[in-house]
Amino acid sequence: MEVIFILIAISLILAVTFLFLFFRAMKDGQFDDSYTPSIRILFENQPKKSKKDQPKKTKSYE
C-alpha cells in the first residue's frame, strides 16, 4: 500500500507541471487572442525561392 505515497507525489508533480505550463501560456499571451491562430494554422509554410518556377494560377473574371 505504501506505493500510494509515491503515486500521490507523482500526481501532484504532474498537476503542478500543468499549472506551470498554464502560467507560461498566460504570460505569452496565448489567451489574449483566441481567434487569429485559428486562421494562421491554415497558411502553408511555403518553400522559399521555388515559388517563382511554379506556373501561376490564373483566374477568369468574366
Binding site: 487569429t36 486562421i39 497558411f43
Partner: protein, 809 residues
Amino acid sequence: MHPVLPSEIQFKCYHCGESCEQEFISVEDKKFCCQGCKLVYEVLSQNDLCEYYELEANPGKSQKDNSSLKNRFDYLDDLDVGQKLLDFKNDLESHITFYIPLIHCASCIWLLENLFQINKSIFSSRVDFIKKKVQVKFLHDQISLKEVVSLLSTLGYEPKINLSDLDHKSKNPVDRKTLTKLGVAGFCFGNMMLFSMPEYFSEAELLGEGFKRLFDYLNVVLSLPIVFYSASDYYTSAWNAVRQRKINMDVPIVLGIIAFFLYSLWEIFVQGNAGYMDSLGGLLFFLLLGKVYQQKTFATLEFDRDYKSYFPIAVTRLIQDREEVIPLFKLQVGDVVLVRDEELIPADALLLSGQADIDYSFVTGEEVPIPKGKGQLIYAGGRQKGEPILLTIQKLPSQGYLTDLWNNESFGKSNKRLLEPLANRISGVFTWTVLSIALVAFVFWMGKDLSIAVKAFTTVLIIACPCALSMSTPFTLGNTLRIFGKGKFYLKNAAVVERLALLDTVVFDKTGTLTDPANASIEYFGEPLSSETKSIIKAMVARSTHPLSNRINLFLGKIHPVHLEKVQELKGAGFLAVYKNQEFRLGSKIFTGVKGDHFSEGGNHVFLNVEGVNLGYFHIQSGLRNGASKVVKGLAEIYELHVLSGDHAHERESLAHQLSHELKFNFEQSPTDKLNYLKALNIKGKNTLMIGDGLNDAGALQESQVGIAITDRVSHFSPASDAILDAESFDRIPNFLAFARNSRLIIKASFGLSFLYNILGISLAVQGLLSPVLCAILMPLSSISVVVFTTLATNFMGVRKGLLHLNYR
C-alpha cells in the same frame, strides 16, 4: 485611354475586386481598376508574395481614394511622437502596435505577417484579427518608423494613428490576472476534491489513519494559494466597502472565507477531523468563474473614445510658404494651417482662403457639407470636402467650441450618481441577519456544550456564505450582455444592465438619431422634368459620392443614364455637364446663379440650370429613421421623453405630428447645453437615458445614467458611451429596455432560490449537524442550480422578447 465599356461586360479588379466600369489597366493577364492597385500588385509580385491573392479572391482595398501626399507621415520623424507611439524600444529594436481598420480576411493576416519578406529589417509582425491590430518589431537602425508606416501604406494597409494613441494606455493586464487566479483556484480545487474523496467513502477506512492525515495536510497546503492569492480581490473590495461604512456582496463572502479557513485549520490540527477545505476551494472556483463570465467584452469596440480618437495626430503648417507637417500638440494659436480634401479641421480657426465645404457628420450626425466663406469661423471636428483651404488657428485644439466639452467637470472623474447594484443593497441586511443567527445559535449552545456552540457559530457563517447569492448577478448579467450582443446592442460592462432596468426618462438627439440621413425626403419644385432631363441628372449624380448626389440618385430610381459629352464635378459647388451641346449645371445656389430666397424652408436645396435658365430645384430634408415613430410611441407609455437638437425650431410641428405630442422638444442646443440639460434632469432625480450619435452629444452621454451611442458601422467612431447600438437595431430599443427589466426580475428570483438553500443550510448548522460531506454537496449544488436557473430564464426571456432565435443556423 481605354474606351468606356458597355455595362454588360464588367471586369473585376484583380486586387480589390471592384468592378472596373470606366477604364482599367492591364498587367499580364490581370486587370486593375487604378494605378494604386497595380502598384500594390507589383510590389507583392516582386517580393514573391502572390500567395496573397490565392488565399482569398480580390483581397485588397481599392486604392483610388488614397491620399498620395508624400510628406503626410513626416510627423513620425518627430522624436516625441515616435517615443509616445512605441510599445518598447532598446538599442537595437523597436516594437509598435498599429491599428489597421482594413484587416478583414485571411490574406490580410498572411501578408502582414510576411512583411519580413519585403524588408528584412522588420523581423516580426503579428496580427490580432479581432482587434484589427498588428504588432511590428523592427530594427530602428535600418528602418525608421516613418518608413515602416509608408511601407504599410504602399501595401494598402495604412495604419490609423490618432491623437489618442499618444496617451499610452496600459494593455489590459487585469483580465489576465483574473484568469490566472481562476486557473490557480481550479488547480487547487480539483486536487483538494481528489484528496477529500476518501473521507466521503467508507472504503477508504481500509487505507488506514496515516493516509487520512496526509490528505488533510495536503488539503491545508493546497488551500493556501486559494486563500492568499485567488481570493485577494475580495479582501480589497470588502475592505474598501467597510472603510466607507458600507456593506457590499464581498463582505459576507470574506466573512465566509475566514470562517471556512480558520475553522477548518482548527478541525484538522486540533480535532484531527477533515475540515471544509475542499468546499472552500469550490466556493472560490465558482465565484471566480462567475467573475470571468461577467467580464464579456466586445474587443472590437471602444467605449471610452473622446475627440482625441477622432482628431488627426498631425497637421500641415505653413511657415513663409513652406509646408511642414507637425504633431497637433505643437500647434499654436495664430499658426496658418493647410487643410486638404477629406482632412479634418484640427482646431477652431478662421478661413483665410479657399472655398470651405465642411462635413460635420461626426459632430452633429448631419452629413451634408456646410459651405463657409472667407473670414468665417470654422469649428474643429469638421471634414473639408473639396479644394485645399488655409486657416488661421484661433484656439488650441483642446480649447475649442466642441472640445471644451471635455474640460467640463463631468469628464473629470466618474462622478455619476450611480445606482447601487441590487446585490449590494441586499447584502447589508443579509450580513447582519446571518451574524445575528450565528450569535443566537452560539449563545443557545454555550450553556450545554461549548464545542457544539463554536461549531454552530462557524458553520452558520460557512453555509450562509452567499456563494449562490453572489453567482446569480454575474451570470444573469453576463447572459443578458451576450443576448444584447446578438441583437447588435453592445454594453460596456454588466453594471449597465441594472441601470437600464431602472430608467424613467429617455432623451433623444434629433439629427442622426431620430432622423436618418439615408432616409431623406426629396421634393422637386419647378418646371416638370422630362425623362431625358432625368437621365442627364442621373448621369451626373451617379458619379459622385456627395451625400446630396446620392440622395437625388436614389430619388430618381432606376433610370438609364445618358452618355454625357463632358462632365465635371466641382467639389463644394456642383456638376457642370455638356449634353447635345447644352450646358447643364446642377448644384448650389451660387454655382447655378440663382437669386432670391423664396424657397421652401429648412433642409438643403440643389438647383438645376440649363444654358443659364433655372429650371427648378430639389428640396432635400432628412427623414425619420425607420421605426422611429414606433419606438417613440412604444417608449412614451412608460418613459418621459425629451428631444434635444442643435437645429432651428422650424421642424417642431412636423416632428411632433410624426412622432408623439408627448415629446418635450428643445432646439438650438449647443453641446454644452445638452450636457447641462441632462444635469438638470439628474438633479430632479430622474434616471436618464441619453441616445445620441455625434461628438456634440458626448457631454450628454457622459452625464446621463446610461448613454447609448448609435452608429451605422459599429467598428467606426462613436463617442464615449455606456453602450453602442447598431443603427439596424434602433427599432428594438423598447425590447432591449424591457429585457433589462426582466433581467432584474431574474436576479431577484434567483436570490429567492439561493435564500432557500441558505435557510436549509442554516437550519442544519444551528443544530450543529453540518458535516464536511453535507457541505461539499450543498455548496456546488446550490451554485450550479442558480447558474442553470439564470441561464434558462434569461434565454427564455430573450426568445420571448424577440432578441434570440431558437434555431441557430
